[in-house]
Symmetry: C2
Subunit: 195 residues, 2 copies
């Protein structure tokens, strides 16, 4: 196969995260053979998204407006600011239905091995946002992975010296689980943080 | 998140084979956050491929020309026609460097459960192609899966009644393998087809 248009498509699909050579080939063949309408739709969606999506000036999530709908919602508690890694994390918190404050979306987390330090994150913008005089508590809801913990630690330090109350999501046994099947690190945390 | 451009992109990415909701979200966030150039390139590659790629009039593979480069190659043995499922299978045979005949690419295989019968495959075009008066032997190189075997069986029947010599790739122990680790079905085939 030395068809430039096909090779170009496979090469472009390979740049998607988690897609290798074989998956990219399969996707290209599928689109050309069975779903040309899907290919056109994807092309249009990509152009539409890259031209219209930008970052919310307050919480940094993706939005087509200057300020996203969550930040613009006057019914939310502006004294609470929840820091998450991605819009997907924010969506999970929203689905839980138990948070009515504002958000800040980091769009990433510390990852020193990939060269992502505090500077690469939107830490500066977060510190400005949290210092608006209304925010009283910043809830760090980054993941409980090594990188998520490091991110929470670094941001927590910087926020505390600015006199803000900083909290972290509770660690413990997940709802619906039997202790027998919960990993030991989680049990240890649940014991320490017992209440 | 209720951003139409973002939702549209996630929805379009979900149509790719093997991509679910979470992967599509991850891809969309990655493209918007870290690789807008990759998103533009993918959009252009999709439009380029869907507008320029069509099927070779002889072997049915994807090509930008009327006849693909393999079919146009006068140095290949026109008496041999090898039937494969996909361009990727064809590429694998080419890489083996042991075949110099022509190809026919089915762009699929029988899959009754998905409603893909012999009619849905390019069986008609294959039968016409094989009856050009030059082809003497048709090598069925569909996969050794249930669907691939069924495809080979159905096509083989139709080709044989037209007086063509029909062969199938040999089944047996893969190169470099130790018998101990070869599955029993393969060993049974290798015994029956011993030479």
């Amino acid at each position: 196969m030395s068809e430039p248009a096909l090779d170009g498509l496979i090469e472009a699909l390979r740049r998607l995260p988690g897609v290798g050579q074989k998956s990219a080939q399969r996707m290209a063949f599928h689109l050309l053979q069975h779903d040309r309408d899907g290919a056109d739709r994807l092309a249009r969606a990509l152009l539409q998204a890259t031209t219209s999506m930008r970052h919310c000036s307050r919480c940094h999530t993706f939005t087509q407006a200057e300020v996203c709908s969550t930040c613009a919602d006057a019914g939310r508690d502006a004294r609470l600011l929840c820091v998450v890694e991605t819009p997907a994390d924010q969506a999970a918190l929203e689905r839980s239905g138990s948070y009515r404050g504002q958000y800040f979306v980091l769009m990433g987390r510390l990852s020193p091995l990939d060269g992502i330090g505090v500077q690469a994150l939107e830490a500066r913008q977060l510190l400005d946002r949290a210092a608006d005089g209304v925010v009283e508590e910043v809830i760090l809801a980054t993941g409980f992975t090594a990188e998520g913990e490091a991110t929470a630690h670094a941001l927590g330090e910087a926020l505390r010296v600015r006199g803000l109350r900083v909290t972290r999501l509770a660690r413990g046994v997940p709802a619906g689980s039997e202790l027998e099947y919960v990993d030991l690190g989680t049990i240890a945390h649940a014991l320490v943080d017992r209440r």
